[in-house]
């Protein structure tokens, strides 16, 4: 009997031990609600990425915590609520905010993050499970209620979110339980995932958002109370003067006064509540509150921003690396001049820099630096104002397209770093049509086409560019090339705010556009070529065939079919010489050799998600 008991107990213990051993890393293990959910849900559609490893196959040496990573930016971060404009430094803001999901290196938003998994119930309804254990920098908990609050905050016009029009197809978001939401769409919305891998899905603390609302409510209520008080005074005066006009008139005037008084009382109550919440608080625009690996430590406008490690960042814990992120913090100093930035890098005052192409020769053989050349999903193009008389004629658009020597442009503007563009999508993007070839450089053909279009002696064109040195140089190169075909390209270089204004009012014939971070085709194409979109370029073009295809692509959930639609869009735009696509951008970054943890192969495959999952560290945990 005794031996049987021992046998059962031993068996139970053994089972328990075996069960513990058998647990793969990444199974659901949490004891309390606040513990981090360690489950990662991989499916056929969302398979485990190749960069999802942190052992020696990723990097030879073990990460060590320590040191403040020093970086720089041309301008101060700007407004720190990513839904407000302007934000000047997205890289820093990305370190502060987690997002619902991430795009991978093929520009498809399908890597789960704070959104753990999702499934369509029908074409207009999506159920999404959220991760437990995510905490914001101010201690607030992320859950379905927080997400709903944020999404509704963006949708509320009064909050001035520029990202509001991005989520227009969203009907509503419903809380199913604390960690499940149901999304309801007005129409089939294939780019939903891309949108929520982007700014609308950058998580902001609901506590901070409520404070922000309270701050703006305080100002608004203050104004309204003053206005209502004036109305009350006027109503009371009216009541006093109405005494001689009869009881009925007096009653009416008094009723009006009472109504005002009640309204004032209500507003004062709301104002007191708002003030209580907002007292001593910093608006989100001045201090971001996310749930990302770093949180704002201090910021001096125009000078620097310093972040420190978020001690409760969930990701590291979810994969068994609780010491992530490894840097103690990040400091981003504002340095406007490129030459000064490079001097700081070489002196070891900063750890990383996006290199201006002309500086490449100075860094490529530097023994203290690692230099990375990476193709980027940016397309540089010359955009026609299709409302402008010359460009209503396709022959003129063809003439301009053939007048530009793209290789020479890349040589001069990008020091040879760049890929000649055939059409809108970069050559590594799934929507890129591989059958389209770059337009040839042929100035003689260009002149011939201009003569056929009625401009045998050339013409003057009005150009619009930003006034930063790189844009001015770009404009000068285009000007010189167009001069060879007798086009006088008159450039107006202006600041970004004026540029937006003039672009919106179509005060140009030809301008430069850099389509940046082209990920999901829908948002980029819609912003650039759909006349109904709310963007600077909205009335610039009007190609009904392309527009119809773009809208069809928006509603197509099948990836293969969608890809074909967008490749067809490229063909339509290409054949119509809709714009002059010039080149796809290449990025050069230099990082001090003391910074470890970068795996190039995984970075190219993982893109932004690799950057989020594989934070760097200093050698020996010390910044020297």
């Amino acid at each position: 009997m005794e031996s049987k008991k021992v046998h059962v107990a031993s068996s139970l213990l053994a089972c328990a031990f075996l069960w513990l051993l058998a647990l793969p890393s990444g199974s659901t293990v949490w004891a309390k609600d606040t513990d981090v959910d360690t489950e990662w849900v991989w499916t056929e559609e969302r398979s485990k990425p190749m960069w999802w490893k942190w052992d020696k196959s990723y990097y030879a040496t073990k990460p060590v915590r320590g040191g403040y990573y020093q970086s720089c930016a041309t301008r101060y971060i700007g407004l720190m609520n990513p839904n407000h404009w302007p934000v000047n430094d997205w890289a820093t803001l990305a370190a502060i905010h987690d997002r619902l999901l991430y795009p991978d290196g093929t520009h498809r938003a399908r890597v789960p993050w704070v959104a753990k998994s999702w499934k369509y119930e029908d074409d207009l309804t999506l159920v999404m499970t959220l991760r437990k254990g995510v905490t914001f920098h101010d201690g607030a908990r992320f859950d379905a209620h927080a997400l709903k609050y944020q999404v509704e905050w963006i949708k509320d016009k009064d909050n001035g979110a520029w990202s509001r029009h991005w989520i227009q197809p969203l009907e509503s978001i419903e809380v199913v339980d604390d960690y499940t939401v149901r999304w309801h769409f007005k129409e089939v919305w294939a780019s939903f995932f891309d949108m929520f891998a982007n700014v609308p899905g950058w998580l902001i603390s609901p506590k901070a958002l409520k404070i922000d609302v309270a701050i703006s409510d305080s100002k608004r209520l203050d104004r309204k109370i003053k206005l209502e008080q004036r109305r009350l005074a006027s109503a009371e005066k009216e009541a006093a003067e109405a005494a001689s006009q009869g009881e009925a008139v007096v009653k009416k005037a008094l009723a009006k006064a009472k109504k005002s008084k009640d309204k004032i009382a209500q507003m004062e109550k709301a104002l007191n509540e708002a003030k209580a919440l907002a007292e001593g608080a910093t608006p989100l625009d001045a201090k971001a509150v996310g749930s990302g690996p770093f949180m704002v430590e201090e910021a001096r406008e125009g000078n620097y921003i310093q972040l420190k490690r978020h001690p409760n960042w969930w990701f590291g814990k979810s994969i068994g690396h609780p010491d992530m992120p490894y840097f103690d913090g990040i400091r981003v100093t504002v340095i406007p001049e490129n030459s000064v930035k490079l001097a700081n890098l070489k002196a070891g005052k900063i750890d990383t820099l996006v290199i201006e192409k002309s500086q490449y020769p100075q860094v490529k053989d530097d023994p203290n630096l690692n230099v990375w050349i990476t193709p980027l999903n940016f397309t540089v193009l010359l955009a026609f104002n299709h409302q402008s008389k010359p460009f209503k004629d396709i022959r003129m658009r063809q003439a301009i397209a053939h007048a530009i020597d793209r290789k020479a442009l890349i040589a001069a503007q990008e020091q040879g770093f760049g890929r000649v563009a055939s059409c809108y999508f970069p050559d590594d993007h799934y929507a890129h049509n591989p059958n389209l070839k770059p337009v040839t450089y042929d100035p003689e053909l260009s002149k011939k086409l201009m003569a056929q279009a009625g401009y045998p002696n050339g013409l003057k064109l009005k150009g619009l560019i930003y006034h930063d040195p790189s844009s001015v140089r770009f404009g000068e190169i285009i000007k010189a090339m167009l001069r060879r075909v007798n086009i006088d390209y008159q450039l107006e270089a202006t600041d970004p705010v004026s540029y937006s204004d003039k672009a919106r009012n179509l005060e140009y014939d030809l301008t430069t556009i850099v389509a940046i971070y082209i990920k999901d085709p829908d948002s980029s194409l819609t912003n650039t070529y759909d006349p109904a979109a709310d963007s600077e370029e909205r009335r610039r073009t009007n190609n009904p065939t392309a527009t119809e295809l773009i809208r069809a692509g928006r509603k197509e959930l099948n990836f293969e079919k969608r890809t074909k639609i967008y490749q067809e869009v490229e063909k339509v735009l290409y054949e119509n010489y809709e714009d002059v696509w010039l080149y796809y951008y290449t990025l050069i970054t230099a990082t001090r050799k003391q910074v470890l943890g970068y795996n190039r192969e995984m970075s190219i495959a993982g893109g932004e998600n690799y950057n989020a999952t594989h934070p760097g560290w200093f050698k020996d945990g010390r910044r020297e």
Binding site: E337, N338, S339, L342, A343, E356, S358, Q359, P361, Q362, D405, A408, L409, A411, A412, Q415, H467, P469, V472, R473, E476, I477, K479, A480, L491, A493
Partner: protein, 300 residues
């Protein structure tokens, strides 16, 4: 009727070859002034003969040779569009010297006229002109010029207008001061007494006594005008690309200071040289024209 002998007694000392020679002698005794003069002549020569001197057209780009260092083909290297830097700084002299000369001449003309008017007429005319001068002088010069140039729009004509509209005030005050000093002089009274009109008296008898300080002001003003033009071009106002301008080259070159330092150093050095030379020449002329240094006015 005035005794001609008496009138002659008080006739202002006209410029004579003897006086001019004395001025030149004094000037050329100063080594710095000689060097400054040589440099100025050289720079004007560059400006005038730029098409003959510059090895390449200044606006012709070579996109495959951008930001190259000095070589046998391009002595100062190339700029960010592959244009020959040496040619661009040579042609840049045209803009700077032209703007400098034009601004100085127009400032002198306008300032002299208004200064003469204010000093000679006095009363309300003087008050109005001098209050206008005071209003303009409240502003820092470069700010005034930049605001005006920005309002007028880009281009060489507009920058000349902007600099002239600031530059005349100093000349006007100078001339007015000179006029106030001489308008009560006996020869001026004599001229009035023999029936000379205001204008004749102003221009024939009073004005000649202002020429010495005006010459010095012109030389110094040239330096100031060149400085203002390059400052405005540095900030993107004035002549527009692709027209070469020292100030604009300096600004663009600053971006590439660590990669192609000559891009900034070459125009910067020429700007410094030009302004310094004008200032030194102005100093030399002031010393040469100062009667206290050359002896007192001779009586016939």
């Amino acid at each position: 009727m005035t005794d001609p002998a008496i009138a002659q007694e008080f006739e202002p000392r006209r410029k004579s070859t003897v006086g001019f020679k004395a001025v030149m002698r004094t000037l050329f005794r100063q080594k710095l002034s000689i060097i400054a003069l040589i440099i100025i002549v050289f720079l004007f020569g560059l400006a005038v003969f730029a098409p003959l001197v510059a090895p390449y057209p200044p606006e012709e780009p070579d996109f495959y040779n951008v930001l190259k260092g000095p070589s046998a083909k391009h002595w100062l290297g190339t700029d960010d569009l592959g244009r020959d830097l040496l040619s661009r700084v040579i042609y840049g002299a045209r803009v700077s010297m032209t703007v400098g000369m034009a601004c100085t001449i127009f400032s002198l003309m306008l300032g002299t006229f208004l200064g003469l008017l204010a000093g000679f007429r006095g009363g309300l005319t003087d008050q109005v002109i001098m209050r206008l001068v005071d209003m303009i002088m409240i502003f820092p010069g470069l700010i005034f010029v930049l605001v005006l140039a920005a309002a007028l729009g880009p281009g060489m004509i507009n920058i000349i207008i902007a600099i002239t509209l600031f530059g005349w005030v100093g000349v006007a005050r100078l001339v007015r001061g000179q006029v106030l000093a001489v308008r009560e002089a006996p020869y001026v009274e004599a001229a009035k007494a023999v029936g000379a009109s205001h204008w004749r008296t102003m221009f024939k008898h009073v004005f000649p006594n202002c020429t010495a300080p005006l010459i010095v002001a012109a030389a110094l003003g040239l330096g100031g005008a060149v400085g203002m033009e390059t400052g405005a071009a540095f900030l993107g106002i004035g002549v527009q690309p692709p027209t070469p301008s020292w100030g604009r080259e300096l600004r663009t070159g600053f971006t590439y200071l660590t990669t192609t330092p000559l891009f900034s150093i070459a125009p910067g050095a020429l700007i410094t040289l030009a302004i310094l030379s004008f200032v030194l020449l102005g100093d030399g002329l002031r010393d040469a024209l100062d009667p206290r240094l050359r002896g007192i006015m001779k009586k016939r």
